[in-house]
Homo-oligomer: 136 residues x 2
């Protein structure tokens, strides 16, 4: 069976990363590792390591993405929790067999080879959960 | 200066821990370490280790606590993110000096000696953040 190994990241959706960095970098003292454009998500993401996890600050770069609408409706805040697993495909099969509501029925693949999938908040008690499997 | 070392836990507020455990334990495969009454928070908390962090499922045990009202208003979901630091008092001083809005101006202490404090979501881009310092 697939094993859940750690919190890979928590993701906050923000309208102004500089405002968010004032707390997470300047206040809490985390390092800003990098800021990257993620065109397939229509977003720009800042990565701040925290132990074996990261805090990710996600800024929508278009007004019509799901992320942009989420931000417009709720304001800045938590967007999702990402749990690293050793096999996203196996975990999705297991969750499907358990009757859990998924957003992605099979793994999606990022440009860097990372496999991931999202689980519907209805299945998790209200939290959008991303599963994440590092490229080998 | 105080150092932030890891995500100590993420806390979900839930009305029925058995429903939440169906996903986090039975689905995702996390172990249920223990379930404890936390009378000072009018809550019962289930702890599930995940790497160097925990997932905490928090069920309000009275109807009139802040937590119970939060649950009644928003339904189950993310409640806060807890960041472990090596010195909560020093971090609070640093955040105060930076003009960040705090909920606790000085560290609070749990029965087990853990020092903690909450930071207002207004300061953090929309997430309730707990600072946490292990008892020595």
């Amino acid at each position: 069976m697939s094993i859940s190994t750690r919190i890979n990241h928590i993701a906050l959706v923000v309208d102004d990363p500089e405002v968010a960095l004032r707390f997470w970098r300047d206040g809490l003292g985390l390092a800003l590792e990098c800021t990257e454009a993620v065109p397939e998500q229509a977003a720009e993401v800042s990565f701040l390591p925290l132990g074996e996890s990261h805090v990710e600050l996600v800024r929508p770069t278009t007004a019509d993405s799901g992320l942009a609408k989420y931000l417009a409706k709720r304001g800045p805040g938590m967007h999702h929790v990402c749990v690293e697993v050793d096999d996203v495909g196996a975990m999705l099969e297991r969750l499907k067999a358990g009757g859990f509501r998924l957003i992605d029925e099979s793994p999606r693949v990022r440009a860097n080879g990372t496999r991931y999938a999202f689980i519907h908040p209805e299945a998790t008690s209200g939290v959008l959960v991303e599963l994440y499997e590092s490229a080998r």
